[in-house]
């Protein structure tokens, strides 16, 4: 009896060793060469941020849709027929709606109803990332709150968590509502949440975000907060800026000059 138990344990021990042995061999044999690289011309920011100059917005943004159209065109954002199905990455709202905490009955006349460009704030402490059950939305090392649409199950937790309304669900098949598509960028599909991606695909090629490139009035500025010479750092050091709903602790990275 004892002899056979001894034998049994020996065999089990050796088999376990054998099984783990293959894993060790595989790990050593694995291709160590770096086969995945980024573009040389890619912008390598450490902390991307945007500054929006609302002092210029009263004249500049009145009737202008350059940034919105540029963004929605290159990202294949559909133009839905019903407001309840609306999909938007960047849009215009008035000052009172964008900054409810800064609004009161005696708000300066010229700030009442002032057009304010709003988009995903790419928060430093993003509530959408915390609630996503599949990790479809995540914060990149450079601070961009990105989405992996492959993984989105359309549960809309992120939409509930986002205090800025920056996320839209595709209630309908977006392709039915796209007149023309940008062949270099995918569309989304029904049942997937989408939002602004801070143009990660353009930054990877060394290009500014589409909205910033499209704005001819200089309302939008984009850059690296960790770089003291960047446009955004210069603007933030010179002007008093506010952020949307800062009391919620999300640490938004879209700054507004008022």
């Amino acid at each position: 009896m004892d002899e056979s138990r001894r034998r049994f344990l020996k065999i089990i021990g050796l088999s376990t060793l054998g099984l783990s042995g293959t894993a060790v061999v595989e790990a050593f044999a694995a291709d160590k060469a770096d086969r995945y690289l980024s573009y040389e011309q890619a912008f390598a920011g450490k902390k991307w941020a945007m500054v929006i100059d609302l002092s210029k917005a009263a004249q500049a943004c009145d009737g202008c849709r350059n940034c919105i159209d540029a963004c929605h065109r290159i990202h294949n954002v559909p133009d839905m027929d019903l407001p309840k199905n609306e999909v938007k990455w960047i849009w215009k709202d008035n000052f009172e709606h964008a900054f409810p905490a800064q609004t009161h009955h005696y708000l300066e006349q010229n700030y009442q109803g002032r057009p304010s460009i709003v988009l995903c704030n790419h928060c430093d402490n993003p509530p959408c990332v915390r609630v996503c059950p599949t990790k479809a939305t995540f914060k990149r090392a450079d601070g961009i709150v990105a989405m992996d649409y492959h993984r989105c199950i359309g549960c809309r937790y992120c939409m509930s968590a986002c205090p800025y309304g920056s996320r839209s669900l595709n209630w309908r098949d977006p392709r039915e509502f796209l007149n023309e598509t940008n062949k270099e960028f995918p569309t989304r599909t029904r049942g997937v949440v989408e939002k602004c991606n801070f143009c990660v695909e353009r930054l990877a090629q060394g290009l500014m975000p589409a909205c910033v490139a499209a704005c001819k009035e200089g309302v939008l500025s984009f850059g690296d907060l960790n770089d003291p010479a960047s446009d955004v750092s210069a603007l933030l050091s010179k002007h008093h800026t506010i952020r949307r709903k800062p009391h919620l602790g999300t640490q938004p990275r879209i700054y507004y000059i008022v």
Binding site: Y36, A42, N76, R140, D148, K183, F185, P186, T189
Partner: protein, 140 residues
């Protein structure tokens, strides 16, 4: 258990094993029929000769490679793939793969239909506008 039950037990064990392995027997009997279905012949829709990796590798592993590409681009923002020959490719189904594999119906669909899989790539990724008139298919 008495000695008398033994044949009965053996019979039922045999029947159980037979029922459980029934799909194997059915498959064995209909194998000759299955072999009549010829493997699909694929049309590229262009005249590219080389893929990012060897044809054998791509046939067997393109789905795994695409998943790795996706993770690399989306999660790590690394968009360049260096293949086993050291050549560089931009990792993009829509912009790199479909650049050569223009004929989605003649290439992707034909094989996916044959093996009975329905990948959801093109729910979002846009397939190239391909005209059969301009590029007549060689095989059918």
């Amino acid at each position: 258990m008495t000695m008398k039950d033994r044949p009965l037990i053996a019979l039922f064990i045999f029947m159980l094993v037979f029922v459980l392995t029934l799909p194997l027997w059915i498959n064995l009997l209909t194998l000759s029929k299955g072999r009549d279905i010829a493997a699909p012949e694929l049309d590229l829709g262009g005249d590219a000769k080389l893929c990012v990796e060897s044809t054998e590798f791509m046939k067997a592993h393109h789905m795994e490679l695409l998943n790795q590409w996706r993770d690399s681009v989306v999660r790590n923002s690394n968009r360049i793939y260096i293949n086993s020959q050291g050549k560089r490719f931009s990792m993009s189904l829509q912009n790199t793969c479909m650049e050569c594999h223009q004929d989605k119906e003649g290439f992707c669909d034909r094989c996916h239909n044959y093996v009975g899989v329905t990948p959801k790539c093109w729910d979002c990724h846009i397939e190239p506008k391909f005209s059969i008139k301009e590029h007549p298919r060689e095989t059918h």
